[in-house]
Symmetry: D3
Subunit: 194 residues, 6 copies
């Protein structure tokens, strides 16, 4: 019953262009496995390159948002879009980055009930509007963010992460991208209290 | 930032009617902790009694559905209703009953992509229709179930579980019922292969 | 063209467990007929018992809401869920309890236009949110109720009735439960003015 | 608590243009009262004239649909649009025309469960699609009607009644048009069997 | 691949009742062509007459709204209803009446981003609510209009235009009414600045 | 009343990194003006680079879809997302590429009524599902494409364009990206017949 990792052919690592292979090996070294998104998108090297360049430009940059907060946006919006890959994979990353084994499942199920700060709640409200009703985003939404100390550049970061994963969710859904089994258990242990 | 387990007063075990307390202690003995749904509903003993009588009549009965399958229905429909308590708590029970550490997150994120049989897919399609568009359920839906070997009594079981959790999801959402921290990690270890 | 009262077998009164039969005979004595919900659910005695225990715990209890107000909640939310049985049967009960031959049709068609008090309007707004978007219920909703003099226990009553009928509506819809012909005309005569 | 019959000024019969008054008096003579739609729209005589000319062109014409069937369309689509005036007033007319005291409440609550013929069901499915998703009406919808013996002219009648009441429902909703109390009880008595 | 102008027979001008033909010839003289809505509705002369009588009663009357503003309402609501005929034909009329070659495409794509005044924005918000959720129109909506200087009679004009095109959009969609090719280019040239 | 081209600061051409400037000048030379999407995204050079790399990887590549067909996908999905920038700008490009002055407005208003081939209709149905309900895309959708001669690689192209513009639409909406006035009139003249 186990579904394949993609509806499309998945290239072998040896057949992949060198720059893609190097990126994949680097991730493997760090994480212990190659997340399937790399293998699935390697079917289209040019799109692979653009996808990860975009990803890094948003997720690795300096920002008024922590990396964990950006992962919260990914998990909340991907859950609304029913993207299994992104909820599972980025849920794992969120647990790791936030050092919180509960947060990903809370945000995925109903972010309004998660153990987050009011500022993070405002961040997710904005991210969800950008994800689900971007056509109605207006000045009032930016005001609400400012009331929580977000700059307009932070607002761009929030909405751009939301928009990028609007794309990613659709890619994962039409390719039938399967999350690696490893993601499910990652970051589940409570961090040690000192 | 941690939210309380209920928007309403939560009685102490000693102040709870004896039949409720006995049930709660029995669960505690078996599970190691008292799931918050017991504590939250104990605020209203009559409703507590009816709720669990109904729950048991559906979830503990003999059925053409396994207990794990019934939990799949709970997780899929509760996710559609954004019920954090039910997704987290019944996700744990599903992992345990199915002896599958991946299944709950798969079903919660997008049941159409889960590692399930075509028969289980048909079961969840019916459960979701009963949950989200019951007004359109018709003969054609029963035909589809029969094509997968479900009897009409099985159909009742599927739809009744879906309907009962349509109620539970709303109870959990308006009371702000918080899942116990213990649920998140339950059943996450892969079962040993023999 | 007349549809049957259930998609499932309907037991004869003589074949029904005694406690069920007694309840049904008591209702018949009072109302003059046995509402079909009793006959349909008698196919599953355990579920019948739990269903009516729950029903009574909510609809017969002491409450800050009158019985007529609780029926308003049933009619408004059941209409949103397109549950023919509940709209027709509880519409009749609402007319009788409110001594108002117009109120049920008004509430079913568009509760925002019914001849109700602002307090009842607030009650129905909350009930509808609990019925249709329970995942978004938050502190602000409770504040609005308090502004109309509802306690938090009243809020529970409102939302719990709404949640119970979220279940009932789905049961009625998948079983194809047919309202008794008697309900349609009940309570239609204007009460005598003294 | 009784709401007024319109949010707008309602002219006195003596102040209304003669052609409008004559129409209103004719209806009064036949029905025993003047339905509020006449009084509310009399605030705008030109719109009144066009409205009823259109109404009569659709509802009084020769057609492959009976008058009762056309009223079914009105009730089903007006219920979907939550138009209290049209559900109550045309529900009464439907009961009278169909000589059936149950049909209006059945169709309003969930037309899929009403005591109607398969042909009438197909008629209402088409009417509802024209009412709620006209942008998706296509050849396949016409085929389904033909399979039940409807001509393409009948299809026009169905969709045009649906479209006209899409307008009427909105007029009634923004003017706050109140149904006359008389409508609620009309046609409720079972017709005598001979 | 070119679709016909109607799913129904289109009469020749010579076979059309004289009053219809006269109206059509008058439009042709003014516009240079006969808009297809006249040809399509001429299949049903009585409905043609009522339709245009209603149209003129709303679109040609004295009003607190300019004719261009009324066309804005048509374009915004018809776009929400995906009515190709009305968006294209009334988009052309809007460009001409507003002497603005950009406005129609802006309003059709997302009226919230169009180059319009705050007063016009309030007008379109109300028109859209009357078009899409008329059942929720209430006093608060009228207040918002008054804050922009609209009288309650203006509110009627806005909502009645919206309601009339709720009907027209459905007529155009089920008949498969095709916009004349001439409409697309009308009013596209920037007006001369003096 | 004219809205600015972005809610964010727009850099001057001289202040933009050289590779961005070169791209913008190249477009200007070809089109006669710099489309605002370049100016708006230049506020974030890294995102600019990734965005256009992705765009080119999808829109400039060899494909079983013509460039005009890819623009159809952009216009249809962007209209569903109410993205004014993309509907107007890519509508212009579609008219030019298809040498058809009517096609863009047809597709934007209701692609089901556009003058397109059955194959293109299937393409747009798939693109719209990937845009609006990607979570439900399944084998059946790929079958429908194959029936029209599309390969699975074509399916990727369709869905990936749809996904990329799901992102672009959100970027344009939250930045308030304004289409250049030049786009509205582009490609409106009918191509000469030889």
């Amino acid at each position: 019953m186990k579904t394949p990792i993609s509806r499309y052919p998945v290239p072998e690592l040896k057949d992949v262009p060198e720059d893609l292979r190097n990126r994949m090996l680097a991730v493997q070294e760090k994480a212990g496995f190659i997340p399937n998104v790399f293998l699935v998108l390697a079917h289209r090297p040019d799109e692979f390159r653009a996808f990860f360049a975009y990803h890094d430009a948003l997720m690795e940059k300096e920002s008024g948002l922590t990396k964990a907060e950006r992962e919260m946006i990914v998990v909340a919006t991907s859950s609304a879009n029913q993207c299994q890959y992104c909820v599972v994979a980025h849920g794992a990353i969120l647990r790791v980055r936030a050092k919180n084994p509960l947060i990903a499942d809370q945000v995925a199920a109903n972010y309004r009930k998660a153990d987050i700060t009011p500022r993070q709640r405002a961040m997710l409200d904005f991210a969800m509007k950008a994800s689900q009703q971007a056509e109605e985003v207006d000045d009032g939404d930016f005001e609400k963010l400012r009331a929580h100390g977000f700059s307009d550049e932070d607002a761009w970061d929030i909405a751009a992460v939301s928009a990028f994963f609007a794309m990613s969710n659709r890619l994962a859904n039409f390719t039938g991208m399967r999350p690696n089994d490893e993601f499910y258990a990652l970051g589940r242990a409570a961090p040690e209290r000192k």
